[in-house]
């Protein structure tokens, strides 16, 4: 028996800490395990005893890249408990805020984190050092900045915004403030259409495993804040039934929690799942941009998530412009909520996929318990299953290249910055 052990000290451009362990026997994978070493962070524990108004602020600190998602899911869940009805104007402003986060998060991932894989660079910093590619990096940064500027205007700052809260916003922007961003948003819309065309020219491995795609679906619009949970295998349930179908599983010998579907095992959430399940809800330019790529959708090729992400950026710019044109400043900006005891849950579509929050409150408004399922926890098992199917295709490559391909596969999921990896060690043991 020969034992071969290869260490890849870090996995960059994905965040958290992880290792991929593979045992190969006679050219066949016998064991495969993606381990995540995110330090335990206990959010569900220390939220107990905190006031419901603090939940959006505290849960935002789970992820610096998608704090809005945490603020949205927690606010909606708590509003259900307290019987708060937000106004149509607040609803529109929330959707606008989410567009901003989708833009900044997706642009970051497409240009700074994922494109280098496809183009053969170690980072966007090296891409920018190449005069031929610097304009693309600059374009990506500007697209991202527009999302951040919109986010900061509505939220008070880009990272961990301060204005969104239970019942609405501490302050809603004026129409004039929003209109001032229109020229840049229009530029961003154009740039995002070009981005879709560009992602379509990338070289995609032939890889289309069979699996369940899960996302929200709303009767009138592409899903962000509301909808039912649906899948390509016929699932169609209200958010309240999420925990009956989706099980939390604490993986042995790690601090990772996998979420899997009771009936079908691993599943995918995120841009590719959303797009596949909501093709008929695309905005006009996003739809056209997708059609012009010539790529067939629905598609289960995880590498094409970069195309899905780009299409969603077009959609987010289009929606942002539409909402700003119709904007009426919410008055009041926030619906006051009185404490009452109860239970409530909600899912919104974070840039990386469905984010589930469930809270139980006492009659003083203090949190008794909660559960949070982040998109990356839901996708982890899917990543592992993908690797089972994918690794045989790359095992013959030199080790460095095989590692790069595996990392690229993992990056398809845009594992969130603080729930994935800082040390991806690829350990291949050959027997």
């Amino acid at each position: 028996m020969t034992t071969l052990r290869i260490d890849v000290p870090y996995m960059a451009r994905v965040e958290g800490e992880g290792a991929l362990n593979i045992i190969v026997e006679d050219g066949e994978i016998k064991h495969l395990e993606l381990n995540i070493f995110e330090p335990p962070r206990f959010f569900e524990a220390f939220l107990r005893g905190r006031h419901f108004m603090e939940a959006p602020d505290i849960t935002a600190r789970i992820c610096g890249i998608c704090p809005v998602a945490y603020q949205m899911s927690s606010s909606h869940a708590i509003e259900k408990i307290l019987g708060v009805q937000i106004s149509p104007e607040i609803r529109a402003l929330r959707r606008l805020l989410y567009c901003a986060e989708w833009i900044e998060s997706h642009a970051l991932h497409i240009y700074l984190l994922h494109a280098p894989d496809f183009l053969g660079y170690e980072s966007a910093i090296s891409m920018a050092a190449d005069p031929a590619l610097r304009p693309a990096v600059e374009m990506g940064l500007r697209m991202k900045k527009i999302g951040n500027d919109l986010l900061a205007l509505i939220g008070g700052r880009e990272i961990h915004p301060l204005s969104p809260t239970v019942g609405g916003f501490y302050r809603a922007p004026t129409r004039k403030e929003l209109l001032a961003l229109k020229p840049e948003l229009e530029w961003g819309l154009e740039a995002s259409i070009k981005t879709v065309a560009w992602t379509a020219t990338l070289d995609f491995p032939d890889f289309e495993p069979d699996y369940e795609l899960v996302s929200l679906r709303h009767p009138d619009e592409y899903p962000m804040n509301e909808g039912r949970v649906v899948s390509n295998l016929g699932l169609d349930i209200p958010m309240e039934a999420f925990e009956e179908h989706f099980i939390d599983d604490h993986v042995p010998h790690s601090n990772a929690v996998h979420v899997y579907h009771r009936d079908h095992g691993s599943y995918l959430t995120g841009p590719l799942a959303r797009l596949n399940l909501n093709l008929d809800k695309l905005t006009p330019l996003a739809k056209q941009a997708l059609e012009e790529t010539g790529h067939q959708f629905p598609s289960r090729n995880p590498f094409k998530s970069i195309v899905a992400r780009a299409v969603e950026v077009v959609l987010a710019y289009e929606e942002a412009l539409r909402i700003i044109d119709a904007y009426v400043r919410p008055e009041p900006s926030r619906i006051e909520a009185e404490p009452r005891a109860g239970w409530g849950c909600h899912i919104t579509e974070a840039p990386r996929g469905m984010l589930y929050h469930r809270y139980e409150l006492d009659d003083q408004g203090l949190i008794l318990s909660c559960r949070i399922d982040a998109p990356t926890a839901q996708n982890l098992k899917r990543m592992e299953d993908d690797l089972w199917a994918f690794v045989p295709q790359v095992l013959a490559l030199p080790h460095d290249e095989a590692t790069l391909r595996c990392e690229q596969l993992v990056r398809n999921y845009d594992p969130c910055i603080s729930c994935a990896t800082h040390f991806l060690k690829l350990n291949v043991v050959e027997k």
Partner: protein, 271 residues
């Protein structure tokens, strides 16, 4: 599919080397650097980004001229790692509430961490963690601290620029109230009766919370010599419940000494 070759343009060796390191955190503070979209490529031209896992594969060994450290020390292996990073760093800057005060994770410092483990994980036996989440300065000497949850990207760029031109970086030591006055935001405590930690919190954020009609919750941590006792008393006088005062101090920078003593004192008062 072709496996593309990595192209790495050799960079000039003379540039100062910058490292960005993460411990237990949400990544928001290091993201501030990527969020400085207008300046990012200039920074990349001016310094050698030698180590920044969130942004690039290539990792150069130390020593580093400037090291930005995000996150708190919360795992057994962190202790050795931060000591090694200290040895490799000429100028070490702790960035954000996690790195300067233990962050929101420091809420565990008031509780039994084993209880927390049992609340969150089905198999507590797999979980290895320190009992506390503490700032970087608890274990090594820190040359400069940038406050906030998250830090302000303009402050970050100012500090890096100061270091590049050989100046000692500076950040304000006065309170958030000064920033409200400067931007003309009416005091939320006086005008709306909203509890606010602005009078005892270090400036630097440009008083954003009061500008959106809410009270400061102290994410920049205590200013120099804050009078937390009289502020806490005032909050009670304007109708805040003692529990609310405790929670307000015991927050993102709650483990910073002045805030910690304040929340403990008001908690004792409740008992």
């Amino acid at each position: 599919m072709k496996a593309p070759k990595r192209k790495i343009k050799p960079e000039k060796r003379t540039k100062p080397k910058l490292a960005v390191i993460k411990f237990t955190s949400c990544d928001g503070c290091q993201l501030s650097l990527l969020d400085a979209e207008d300046a990012l490529l200039d920074v990349a031209d001016a310094v050698e980004i030698a180590y920044f896992v969130e942004a690039r594969d290539r990792r150069l060994p130390g020593p580093y001229d400037v090291t930005l450290v995000e996150g708190s020390i919360s795992m057994p292996e962190h202790i050795e790692q931060i000591q090694e990073i200290r040895e490799q760093s000429k100028f070490l800057i702790a960035i954000g509430a996690c790195a300067t005060a233990g962050g929101i994770q420091a809420l565990r410092n008031w509780r039994n961490v084993d209880d927390f483990v049992r609340m969150v994980y089905a198999h507590p036996e797999y979980i290895d963690t320190l009992e506390t989440s503490t700032p970087i300065s608890e274990y090594v000497q820190v040359d400069f601290e940038l406050r906030g949850c998250p830090i302000n990207k303009h402050q970050l760029l100012d500090v890096v620029t100061s270091l590049l031109i050989g100046k000692q970086p500076r950040t304000p030591t006065y309170s958030v109230c000064m920033e409200c006055k400067r931007r003309g935001t009416p005091c939320v405590m006086v005008s709306k009766g909203v509890p606010c930690l602005g009078p005892v919190t270090q400036a630097g954020c440009n008083a954003i919370c009061p500008s959106v009609n809410r009270g400061c919750f102290g994410c920049y941590g205590p200013m120099e010599a804050p009078n937390t006792e009289s502020l806490g008393q005032h909050l009670l006088d304007i109708g805040a419940a003692p529990g609310e005062v405790v929670r307000l101090f015991r927050n993102f920078s709650g483990y910073a000494e002045d805030f910690r003593l304040a929340s403990d004192a008001f908690e004792e008062m409740m008992a």
